[in-house]
């Protein structure tokens, strides 16, 4: 979808055009669904979240402000927030079960390790990043941890978290540039 098409569709969407929504859905639902899956790691739940996200995109489209970023980023933020809220509900439940069963701790840990590998679409992108930066993106973006929480969880200094997260974002930009060149 070209930039002009996006602008037109957003304008139509703001006027209540259902056809525009369908076009947006066709164009962006894979990215948004992938994001849901990446965060909650549950197919059924990811579908519920995607539906909730589109309902919100539809009803709140008038609050979108193109000065703050692209429409895609706006949709990503809505979806990500809903998914992280749901993810937190799940992990709260799991934490309770951890207290009852020691083994589940290991299962959960193994699970965590598996997930990135499961859902990585283009491995070359993430492979281009050092592990420590991938880890930052995992915690700060997909798990929605704060820098402090990440520091506590990974047992690394807060300053290191700040530096690594900034480097990670810079790397994403660089890789994107390379990606464009390849295209």
């Amino acid at each position: 979808m070209s930039e002009n098409e996006i602008i037109q569709n957003v304008a139509s969407l703001q006027l209540g055009d259902h056809v525009a929504l369908e076009k947006i859905y066709d164009n962006y639902s894979p990215a948004l669904f992938g994001l849901c899956l990446k965060i909650v790691k549950d197919e059924a739940l990811a579908q519920d979240i995607l539906q909730e996200a589109f309902v919100k995109i539809w009803s709140k489209v008038n609050t979108y402000d193109n000065n703050k970023g692209s429409f895609f980023t706006w949709m990503l933020n809505i979806t990500r927030n809903l998914a992280i809220d749901n993810y937190r509900k799940i992990t709260r439940h799991q934490t309770i079960s951890i207290q009852n069963n020691e083994k589940s701790v290991h299962i959960l840990k193994d699970d965590k390790m598996d997930i990135p590998i499961h859902h990585i679409g283009l491995k070359d992108l993430v492979n281009g990043l050092p592990d420590e930066q991938v880890e930052m993106i995992e915690y700060l973006y997909f798990k929605g941890y704060t820098q402090q929480e990440t520091s506590d969880e990974l047992n690394i200094p807060l300053g290191t978290v700040k530096t690594r997260s900034r480097t990670a974002i810079a790397s994403l930009r660089e890789i994107f540039k390379l990606f464009v060149l390849w295209m």
Binding site: F33, N62, K68
Partner: protein, 277 residues
């Protein structure tokens, strides 16, 4: 504003990861509108994330699309353009609270100022009253001092005259003449002190009966058988030594009771005391 500093502060990265307060969120949005460099940097960050997320794309099941489109067609749109109302209201309230607390500070300042003014005025009034009181006290004391000075001067003068009289009385050249009561007035008594040298005559009332306002006692000097008036007196100041007229070469002194102001010649039957030199 130092745009480079702001960009390198790390806030844009936190913004992209969603780790900013609603205030910081508004700040970034606002500054990126004002400074194209900030917006460019922010959008570049977002694009990086968009591309990264896109790499995890998974096409959702076909039936989900119809389900979602149906759900959306039953949902009405929210036409408010304000994002996250609650947060904005909170931030507005925060501003109001600040203003409110500033207002309160001014209120307190104003109250403190008026209390200070009242205290100053009251203090000034009190000091002024105190000053007036002290001035009054000083004036009263000055008056007392003047009075006492007058009293002192009077006493000094009295003392002086007493000393003079004492000196005269005790002087070797002064003679004391006892005047004894006559047959009619046996208890009466008076003395005369005469200094021929200084030509002074003093009368000491010893014991003379009280007299009416219409009468005076009169002192006489008898010179060569003839009476000479030495002046009138009464018995008001019995203790005093009364200075009388002097007449030289008197052989005797006498006191008679006369009408007020005295007589040309003594009334012999009213002679109270008599004494020869």
């Amino acid at each position: 504003m130092d745009v480079k500093n702001y960009i390198s502060s790390g806030i844009l990265e936190r913004y992209v990861f969603g780790e900013v307060s609603s205030q910081e969120k508004q700040e970034v949005a606002c500054l990126s509108k004002i400074y194209p460099e900030i917006q460019k940097e922010l959008f570049a960050h977002q694009l990086g994330v968009e591309k990264m997320v896109s790499k995890y794309s998974v096409t959702p099941p076909q039936e989900l699309k119809q389900q979602i489109l149906l759900k959306v067609s039953n949902t009405s749109q929210d036409h408010s353009t304000t994002e996250e109302k609650d947060e904005k209201i909170i931030s507005i309230n925060r501003t109001n609270q600040k203003l409110e607390s500033n207002k309160n500070i001014y209120k307190y300042l104003a109250a403190a100022c008026s209390v200070g003014m009242i205290l100053l005025l009251a203090g000034g009034f009190y000091l002024n009253n105190l000053n007036t009181d002290l001035k009054g006290t000083i004036a009263a004391n000055d008056n007392k001092i003047t009075d006492l000075e007058g009293d002192y001067n009077q006493m000094a003068a009295t003392n002086e005259s007493i000393n003079q009289k004492f000196e005269m009385v005790t002087s070797a050249s002064t003679s004391k003449i006892l005047m004894k009561g006559t047959e009619n007035q046996p208890t009466s008594l008076a003395n005369v002190f005469v200094s021929e040298e200084n030509e002074n005559v003093y009368l000491q009332v010893g014991n003379l009966p009280g007299i009416s306002e219409n009468n005076d006692y009169q002192l006489w000097a008898i010179v060569d058988g003839k009476p000479e008036s030495l002046g009138v007196f009464n018995t008001e100041n019995k203790e005093e030594l009364l200075e009388m007229k002097y007449f030289p070469n008197a052989q005797a002194y006498a006191v008679t009771l006369e009408p007020k102001g005295g007589s040309e010649s003594p009334t012999m039957e009213n002679m109270y005391v008599y004494g020869g030199v």
